[in-house]
Symmetry: D2
């Protein structure tokens, strides 16, 4: 199937998207640079755990992605740095060997300056192609995929550097100029009931779609969602504090068996970045007093699941979540607000609030393929499909997600012990 | 809700079940003894990996279960061996401490003889209660649960001792007198189509049910199952051999990311008990030539999933499987046939074959709670619910499962790397 | 060099040794059986840590040693059980593959009965050879070596089963009929001074020696031992208790860097088999009150070294120890007293006491080769030499060592963290 | 005991040492800066294994040492950066907590620029003290100790950055301008015989000594050294290559038991930085052809010991080595030659050659205390004494050791598996 460039662009746009591919490319690429701006070359090398990557690596890998998947399709293309290919390949086995994930922090060479020069060179080549209208449809498709990919790494750059700076005993801030969130009163949570119904879930396969979607969101299909109720807003710090105060971290019966083992091994007593006095939390702007009304954050799935059980409730399934979100505009406290931290928000108690932004919401759903799932053709097929085991789905984006990146059908996924993302929960219950 | 003893018995029975609780109890308890009969006291101590338990421990733990959950409910009951409580508690944190799972093989005391004496004493006390009609409804309910529990451990006794004896370089047989399976020709597999429809899945909560079911099978609820096709029989050794011969274990793109890592770490090249020449397999009757027509067995989920992908197919969801199985009698090559190994079976190609027995069939479904799931009250609530994370559902029972134990709604679950169960697969595909 | 049988026997004897090889062989072999007598087949399978071996394995391995090193030298000899060779080879790489040390507890087959039958068959064949005077000098030499080897395993059988039974939460006794040690008052310790002098250390290479010695004791050579003082007796439980009470396990400056790390990882707070109240200790006869006067036992080198430093003293070098011991008869509380536990002993304060028996005494000396060291020829050369790294020397034998086995030049060796041997210390200081 | 400043300076000097403490201090501190000069801030953060430290950490820790041990003795002294104390404390438990060794690479803050500023501030304060003659004798003693300490870290900075840059798949050179070593012919090695004699070993305790020595070199004492022979030069690459070609890495009987296990786990096939073709080696100047005549380098003790055994020889004891070295000037290919790699050297075959410089020579001696050893008073006592277990002594310094740092009595020590130092061997044999 051949799709015209204009149609493809349209098919991958959002309301606020620039009109041309070149504009959109430039905007995304500049956003990465802006996120890296507060970091020294030394900061940009930090890798505090195998699951996290250095900022420098994010900057290079996203460029490698464009070089590999877009420029590499051009006849006779020769890579800028053949020896760097393995360094910045993340996990695409069909492309070639990849430097060990846990050792990305050992790459003092190439230097940050060289990586930035590499970015500029990739940008220049992409720009030349776009100007000459030299990209065929597959290349354009990969370009658009690359922009989505880079936005995902923008969020990871933030969560990874947060963990890295926190791991330094000096615990410096990522930025000293972050404004505190305006502290609205969250108000009491209330239940919003939903009747049993058949719901259309997911998105039609991109690019034959009127908007971008990853392959793991397709195909759009019908799901019977049972009657249930959802909380009108995410769980707050004060509510989570009540769970802790009631002995939540000391009662094995509230926890999954594996979660209890992890709790004991990791000596978990509270969310990842809280202090032991349960009064302050480490943010991208440094240590701050906990806002009792703000959504609780930096929970693993085990914690979210245990807290929901303690509350006599449960986590929503991803279908329950999506059914509710389909009726809402994907707007909220995303990275573009500049807060880079979840914030309390007032609002109409009768409608679901903050489904988008603030915190990723853990769901009860294990990450797996939809019926009829087909990975993208070629190496891009390794993007999502091979992780459909042992992870849980999160929905809705966070305060570190670029605005415009997520949608109602968007599926994020992490292992149940992962706590360094901006992840919280919304309660659900059976009707 | 109070249920009469007769109703409870009826509610937990199967077509072939004895008429009285005492008869049913005796039959199950004797079956465990029969399975342990070929084992010396030394064999009964073997623990070859943390996931497996010694036969002696299985014999004791199942008795502890009756003592704890049935006799312990009797007023003034005093445990036979207070010091053994922690030894034979598996994972019931609400009851008390449990001896470390990985160290069950270090229990030379109590001796096998003492454990058998313990069994006899428990049996005698239970028998006295039954004879005196002294068990109230909760105790009777736990008694019936305990019989199901013991049947599960009968299967584990077989799979665990198989692994243990295979781990000995001498690789002795569990039994030297096992008959070889009659070798029917499996015939070519064919696809059986199923249209989209709403299916009733699961079982109503026991004991208000006309048949026993675990809490994880409830509540019965409606699921929209999409159009799909199922293979008419499990995948055969010959078909799996073709996957191997085609380089299935060398092609990372066929595998989940985590599965490929496990394959490399464990140097997997074939199913667990095959020899490197791919000609023979270790069985409970010792080493035997592979029957090309028999269902392939001792696969982990990672292998089943990769092989299905290689075949251009996928694993069925647990709902697809259950919808098909609901129409079949739960009969097949269970432990009671005495084969203790999967066997090829001829049959009508137009109907699903061997859904029950032979091999547990890995499904595409992660193990999780059904909408409205409620664990059993009390400590029995730890039975199933706390494992609903990180595991995959298997369906249908195996050649090591006691006849009468499984049903269409029965959900078994193991981590995706587990290979020591009698586990295989049936292909499915989207319509 | 050829040595006559009589000379060889004489060269390997002790004062109490029987006159003939056959008698000596029978006595040692029967002693092993006596040590195993209190153990069931289940007990004899226990392996509670990789460093320890099951009693059944000790019984088999020592027999394998005679079969391999003595019978195997006979022309045309065929092993009794070719498939068992790897099972009972400990670490002789020049002989062939060896079953993994950490998995010796998984050998339910051969059964204990089969192993005892194997012992009897080996004994019968050895006996036939001896009766027919069919062993040439190398075979006789290996026979004598095998008897020493078996005596070492007799001690290990005791220390290993002690650890295994203690690892069972029931903590049963190895024997219920062990007499308590008569409790002499140890008296205050005093220092015995020794001037600087050149000492002859070690033993001439056996069998050209007037008494058996291992290769690691040779050659006899001159060492300049500086002026120093030795305590007249081993450190007592009461004295070690003072070290604990003074915070010895909480003060990192008293410890080797690696020892402190091990203390923290293992949460050491007292010797291995003491209770947390510091009042009782687990013995081969079960739990008993600590005798304050008895030598402290079941210390690792790290503990012995730290305690000596706390006392303002140090451990003796192995040369200081041997120089003092050379003047003493190798008599004391060995296994043959039947106590199987260290005991206080009164005596002349002016002479070193209990150098032999009771507890192995950790020395300041790392285990290494003497100048001119030559391993035994052939596979027997793997016996001692390849462990000359990372271990510390212990001297003098213990209450679990067979009488007649040790001598002044005898060198035992264990890693510094090993605590499950009957190991204690004697203080030394610079003059 | 009070020692005048001039006497102390004299007591710690070498022939080439500057006349004043200030000059000496300045020279050593500038040498560290020169070694760090080729490194970017990113390079200076690299930590490729727990045993190695980032260059930035070395620069900071050595400054911390002066601040802690010299400036900290001044009345009313307040640390420049109280929050940095734990970051740059290596292992002095009596001073306070220390940042985890394995996580030194996570310190992007303080930045390299801040660390250099810290160095300058410490230098300025020390300089002011020296100018004002404000340091009392203990402070002067610690200042001299600090200079020796810094020289040790200069060598570690080189060995650690070598490992770190080699760990990068790009394997860049530390310096591109390193001259190749002039390639003298090494000539055949020959044996130099030494008769049995009593030798004075070690150095009198500093500072009451006519030259600096660490506490672990004291007290000077008499040792009876047996008759033996030493090779006239270190083993060459060509000679080590013969060991490899003869199957040295495939023959377990040549190896210590633990060494063989490490070889298998690490898949050792040649010295650390050789290529698999055995033709090139990675140096601080990048990849170069192996010089067959140069001393072999980057061996662990296990390899050195195995190779000596293969050669029918053994490693020298540290006493044999010191007795020979006492007659030689401590001159050779040290870091100040600028080669930063071992080089072949011609010379008189009748005299020991290259005892100093080129490569540290592994000895047969385990690292332990000399008779009468006393650690330095106070926290400096943690410098050497607490590592006297599980390590082997190396002697003579290397091409990465600052000239003037070592002497005949100098004892270096590393665990037997350590391979990243410039370590080789000299053969010895019994007479």
């Amino acid at each position: 199937m051949q799709i015209s460039s204009a149609a493809l662009l349209k098919a991958s746009g959002t309301a606020t998207a620039p009109a041309t591919l070149a504009e959109r490319y430039g905007r995304v690429r500049r956003a990465s640079m802006a996120l890296a701006a507060p970091l020294s070359a030394e900061d940009a090398m930090l890798q505090s755990m195998p699951d996290a990557s250095p900022a420098k690596w994010h900057l290079a890998h996203t460029s490698w992605f464009f070089e590999q998947f877009v420029l590499g399709l051009q006849p006779g293309y020769r890579p800028l740095h053949p020896h760097w290919q393995a360094l910045f390949n993340s996990y695409y086995q069909s492309i070639g060997p990849a430097h060990a994930r846990a050792r990305r922090g050992l790459l003092s060479r190439p230097t940050l300056a060289q990586v930035l020069e590499y970015r500029a060179q990739v940008d220049e080549r992409i720009g030349r192609c776009l100007h000459a209208d030299a990209l065929d449809e597959p290349a354009q498709r990969h370009l658009l995929l690359g922009l989505q990919h880079e936005q995902q790494h923008q969020e990871l750059l933030l969560t990874d550097i947060k963990h890295a700076l926190w791991s330094n005993p000096l615990q410096p801030a990522y930025r000293d100029d972050l404004p505190p969130a305006a502290s609205d009163a969250a108000g009491s949570a209330c239940w919003l009931p939903f009747p049993e119904r058949i719901v259309e879930i997911g998105a039609p396969p991109w690019p034959a779609n009127a908007g971008f979607a990853y392959d793991n969101e397709s195909p759009r299909h019908r799901v019977l969602v049972p009657a249930h109720a959802l909380a009108n807003r995410p769980l707050s710090n004060a509510e989570y504090r009540a769970f802790i105060d009631d002995g939540g971290y000391r009662e094995p019966l509230l926890w999954m068996n594996d979660g209890w083992a992890q709790l004991q091994a990791g000596q978990w007593r509270h969310p990842l970045y809280w202090d032991d006095a349960l009064e302050r939390e480490y943010t991208l702007g440094g240590w701050r007093a906990l806002d009792p009304d703000a959504p609780v954050c930096h929970l693993g799935w085990y914690e979210a699941d245990a807290c929901a059980r303690w509350a006599g409730a449960r986590l929503p399934t991803e279908f329950e979540w999506e059914a509710a979100a389909a009726a809402c505009a994907p707007a909220g406290n995303f990275a573009d607000t500049g807060l880079l931290h979840p914030a309390a928000q007032a609002g109409d108690a009768g409608r679901p609030r903050q489904l988008f932004g603030d915190v990723w919401e853990w769901t009860a759903s294990a990450y797996g393929p939809y019926p009829g799932f087909r990975p993208l053709p070629g190496s891009a097929g390794e993007y999502n499909g091979k992780f459909m085991c042992g992870q849980q789905v999160l929905r809705g984006g966070s305060c570190a997600t670029p605005a415009g990146h997520v949608r109602a059908s968007y599926r994020n996924f992490f292992p149940p012990a992962a706590r360094w993302q901006f992840s919280g929960l919304r309660l659900a219950r059976d009707a």
